[in-house]
Assembly symmetry: C2
Homo-oligomer: 467 residues x 2
Amino acid sequence: MAETEPDTAPETAEPPIQAEDLIGLNPSLSRSISQALDDGDDDAVNSLIEPLHYVEIANLLEQMHPESRRMFVEHHSSNFDPEILPELDENVRNEVAEILGINTLSTAVSMLESDDALNLLSTLEDSRRDSVMAAVPAAVRTALAEGLKFAEDSAGRLMQRDFVAVPAFWTVGETIDFLRDSVDLPNDFYDVFIVDPGHRPIGTVTLSRILRSKRPVQMDEIMQPEILSVPVTMDQEEVAYIFSQYHLVSAPVIDDGGRLIGVIMVDDVVEVIHEEAEEDFMRLGGVREDDLYAAVLDTGRSRFSWLFVNLGTALLASIVIGFFQGTIEQIVMLAVLMPIAASMGGNAGTQTLTVVVRAIAMKEITGANAGRVISKEILVGIFNGLMFAVIIGAAAWLWTGELPIGLVMAAAIIVTMFVAGLAGTAIPLGLSRTGVDPAVASGVFLTTITDVVAFCAFLGLASLFLL
Amino acid sequence: MAETEPDTAPETAEPPIQAEDLIGLNPSLSRSISQALDDGDDDAVNSLIEPLHYVEIANLLEQMHPESRRMFVEHHSSNFDPEILPELDENVRNEVAEILGINTLSTAVSMLESDDALNLLSTLEDSRRDSVMAAVPAAVRTALAEGLKFAEDSAGRLMQRDFVAVPAFWTVGETIDFLRDSVDLPNDFYDVFIVDPGHRPIGTVTLSRILRSKRPVQMDEIMQPEILSVPVTMDQEEVAYIFSQYHLVSAPVIDDGGRLIGVIMVDDVVEVIHEEAEEDFMRLGGVREDDLYAAVLDTGRSRFSWLFVNLGTALLASIVIGFFQGTIEQIVMLAVLMPIAASMGGNAGTQTLTVVVRAIAMKEITGANAGRVISKEILVGIFNGLMFAVIIGAAAWLWTGELPIGLVMAAAIIVTMFVAGLAGTAIPLGLSRTGVDPAVASGVFLTTITDVVAFCAFLGLASLFLL
């Protein structure tokens, strides 16, 4: 699998150690498992997957041919590890859920941690979700129904409902005894929350601090009093922002009344950061969401709409060129050169746009520095505009043998790249001010503007000065 | 600051809770601090920043005008919180480091945790780093020099050198007594590592498990034996991959001999995930790195090289168009329509490229499914190629009144979008096989190919059938 990991290309003679060298799943094992499945040799399959982590089985399932996947799940539905399900891509997950059937699914949902169970349920098709909900034990159903009331992508969906909270007047000794004797605590936890009589969080104590304190010490003496509580309705993107800004390991989640109702752990936030980064990346590339595992028709249809919007941009550019047909008729070379101005404007604008869209997502642009960012990008546009005006102008002069064409080209490049810098900052800032996600729509507006400006400037100046 | 947060636009009447509502820094406070700085009122500045977290002071510094920043740092260098430094953008950090001077810097380096200190040192200018190293206490210097030997972006730079490791035969009681009595333990830790006599990690025990076990229980009875040890030379991107795939909270770091030498915590990995996601995002947009806080000239120069490479692409497209000057001379409308084919090809190819580049980075494409991904993207290309051939062909026919032009356009769109699907998968897969980062170079190759194919197909077919 060395071919899929260019970033760690060897800089010395020794090959770099890659994640694949440490983990259980490798291409040759994948092939052996496929072979055993094709042969119908269940024992061989079982012994091959036995040492694998559930994450690795999920990866294996994703990469399998749909037919092998069906066979695999059918033959192993009785001992199917529920932890595999939340790891699967949504498309693959629904496929697997269909094969597993309602009974196995409802057992899985009952066994998973609350955030994973909710995540799984929320991605199932509606009718399947209802059947699963009807099949789980009543206590689980109540908890899940409560969880499903929180908006998707909210802190409520992300949090664990199991946590440890003790009153401020307890001693370290009392707390340790409580921890030892309670049976329904989470498997692993890292902090103990301190709550007031209204069950509102007022501080945290890390387990290492409890372990290192004497038994008679009171909890509020060793607690970290400043804590950031996350409202249960907060969007997961905001939660991730807070965790990464403040290097949090866990954070309490509170309801409207400020009462502690759950805890979010940093490892759940890691997934959110991945998702949100992926979302921005995909949107910049004109894809609604990662569709690697989606069917051809679904993928084609979902990408169609973006291409259709872009077609509008392209048509607009064509209409602009259409105004100058007479000019092109007289100097055909203009048609040859005009895409250069449009391409430079589009690329320069995209550079600016990329930096600004990312800065908006990271909350790095505020009222205090927006003006400075815009002026800087305009200056960068003028700087590179001048550089490329010289280079491209000279190239056009040499190619056509006509100095005036070179001069018109140079002027068009300066105008276009100035506008690219301005539009690359103003469009995303303007969109985000009106509540539109700048990552989605900025690109279309930008290339529309840079194309129109480039063609207008180049062909317009040519009409004025060359005819 | 509502304008910078489009993703959480209100869906109900109630405004969504944003990170800004919870944290200490807000635009009006920023303005008050700037005002107090301008007035030279140090007491006011001090009382305004007193409640702020170091992360917030770092954000404040980044957003300040360079002049205010200088004033702020100069007036507060004596009580400058060292934790602020690692939080700063590299450009701002070097500016602040210059103002602080070697003495304050070396004190800061000695006080920071080992990974933060290394990170800070490695971004300082060479001469300043040497001076700081000369000024820190000898013990700190030795540890730092050792750390600097590890490659940048390796696990060795990411790890903490402080961790807790005990032998397998110790009891819970002995471990707890050891934790209570040791003075040089890390402030907060979440796991205790179990090591064999050769100091190789053989398991972990979470603190919650230690707390909930009886004192006479032996550590190896409660340890989690399967642990993934990270080699100290591993690239941070691989480390982040392992953490997020396996939902790790911490992982031991081992040297060549397999001995435990450090620990990486998930909160350090969160930063790496941010960095790596940002890197891919920036590269897709043609920017080497986030340059929001860089000077105009530096930004202009660093973006120039990417634009220059793209100029080559644009010139190649122009040369292709140049071959068909005779054809354009006879039917000028071709020059008006030709950018549409190129634009559709470029956009469709970029969609495919985005999904494939991301999948390569996430190690989701292996030998087992590469063929399937390529065939799927080609089918998607043909699907949308057929749809848009009908739409754009009809539009071209209506616009020009010439059915043959519509047919040539339709054929060119099908060819271009088929090639876009093929090139959008084949280019990144091929690049990564040769060890080049597909996020950096794929875009140029792709648009070169889609432009050349689009112009060749449209103008070539026009030459054959319309003249």
